[in-house]
Symmetry: none
Subunit: 190 residues, 4 copies
Amino acid sequence: MSASGGTGTADSRTRILDAAEALFADRGYEASSTARIAGHAQVPKGLVFHYFPQKIDVLVALVDERTFVEELPDGAVEALPGDPAGTLSRLARRLPLHASPAMRRILFREADTHRSVRERLGRLNGEVFRRARHALELALPGARGDQARLEVAAATFTAVLIYQENLASLTGQHMDPDAVADLIARALGA
Amino acid sequence: MSASGGTGTADSRTRILDAAEALFADRGYEASSTARIAGHAQVPKGLVFHYFPQKIDVLVALVDERTFVEELPDGAVEALPGDPAGTLSRLARRLPLHASPAMRRILFREADTHRSVRERLGRLNGEVFRRARHALELALPGARGDQARLEVAAATFTAVLIYQENLASLTGQHMDPDAVADLIARALGA
Amino acid sequence: MSASGGTGTADSRTRILDAAEALFADRGYEASSTARIAGHAQVPKGLVFHYFPQKIDVLVALVDERTFVEELPDGAVEALPGDPAGTLSRLARRLPLHASPAMRRILFREADTHRSVRERLGRLNGEVFRRARHALELALPGARGDQARLEVAAATFTAVLIYQENLASLTGQHMDPDAVADLIARALGA
Amino acid sequence: MSASGGTGTADSRTRILDAAEALFADRGYEASSTARIAGHAQVPKGLVFHYFPQKIDVLVALVDERTFVEELPDGAVEALPGDPAGTLSRLARRLPLHASPAMRRILFREADTHRSVRERLGRLNGEVFRRARHALELALPGARGDQARLEVAAATFTAVLIYQENLASLTGQHMDPDAVADLIARALGA
DNA sequence: TATGAATGAGTGTTCATTCAT
DNA sequence: AATGAATGAACACTCATTCAT
């Protein structure tokens, strides 16, 4: 409704969402009070509830408005035939999941306790999975390798793609998508 | 699930931890009040603070006492030489990470906001990773495939192993460890 | 129920008063927010304060404009001489207090905490009382029975008349005005 | 549970109820904040919720614990045979409804919006009504006057008895129970 | 006359924590 | 070891009211 011009100060609603995004990512939804969100956004406490009647609505708006899977542009080439590794690497580089690192943390974390977030995450994950599977189908000329294996490959790569950052920060284990792409391609390849 | 005497009713401390485990897994640490924990455990509110001076100590105790990686028993055979897929499948079946599904959810979720949990999770993950890597090294006779690839394989499998349940419940995407084991083995194998 | 033009949709001010009347009667003045009144009236929140600078002014306007005792029409016969019971019954049937059941609830309830309402209620009650007393005086030919008794009778009947609905809904005790009229007439009568 | 000894300072729970009784009577339930109740009772805000998990529970406790109809003591004489006026006057003087004037205001006012209060009030009213009817039956030797009239008389007297104070303060109309007793007795009498 | 964003004090309620017993 | 009253800061949320348009 208000597209925060380029004037430097975004409108109040946007500022509230910005603040919430940062805080939810940093300390979690429960631990981020509405007062703190308002403070961060530099708006009076009451205004938060003017735009979002319940605190949960802030989370819902964030997830609704700030996470989505990009439409595939017309004529876009998804796959490099004969080169599954390159195909997956490219998918990784042009990740069609649009969500800031902060939003990704929020999705990941709050899905556990908020159904609406979980549903969104499921849908986003599904989209990326389908994209990966389709790209792999195009990349592999013949029906080489059965369909089941291809699905496992797509699912594994999707998980790595979407969660790599979170896995890295949670476990300290860094996973290079290109290396995983290469690994998976080998599993499917000649 | 936890060592309580043999008396039938577990002692208070154990009951508190049981209740906290269930509640933290269900609704998260922040959303589980100490009063509710006490209620669930059927102990008076004050007693929680007798055993755990601060609420966070309940979480710490849970993570300390109820998650660990099993020592490798003497003379245990970890690998099936020449059969990396079987080796990984077997690792999946005898998963050395001991933690109830509830504890796994807690680890996963609270690691994001509590450093001590994150550290524990990192250590557990590292242990499983090393185990997977070692098993793969033994399973693969020659130095076939370079070391880097083997590490990527071990890391990928570890991630799938540890997080499969969470991934399934968060995204709806089910991943069969045996299928992933097979996939990875192919990537490394003959 | 209230004078609005003939246009079908009442004007905003009237709609606000209608909404307030319904809400105040249903949940009380304190528990009816101005936002809710505006919502019910289907007018924007700000408009309420255009017509009624303070919330209390809505209540005052309601009481001022929607409760009154009808003037006695010229030449009206109030009493049936010699028939006090009939006289009182007729007063009950032509109750000169004009106020919807909702307004009666409001008067009754808010008088307790708002002086202006209490004063209005006192005046209305006084009018009805005087009317009842006058009618009884006319109905009873001689000075049969002293004045004091007649006043008690008028006061008792007035109370029953004005509060019967409220008493019925508050206590479950239904009182038939005709039966009370008969009772009182007997006390004064032959 | 704690019978506020004679030491001067009643226990906290009693002080909270005392404060609430005074405030609810004075300004109504809705307009009396829990903070104000706590302040009046000189207890910290949180303690109110220790004893009464919800604000409404304060009102319920008040009504439950501080209004009741006294049991008729064994061998008590309820009626003066042949003297219905004296019988009713005596009932007025020994009103079996135990409730402070403040509690009576609360009952009367909040019954309108709180079902539990309304139910209590209905029960109390019913008890007093039955008592009045029974006393009148005993006072009137023969079956003089039909039963219906006797019920109307009892209901009218009950209403005056229970609500006289409220009616007086709301309308300015004072009603003397003895005078009403006399009036009603005449209606029933020879 | 009409409108809805803005404001901040106040509301009921929850909470971790303390402490005397 | 066990208990529950006590505490006060913090929480989500509501509200009457203002004001620029």
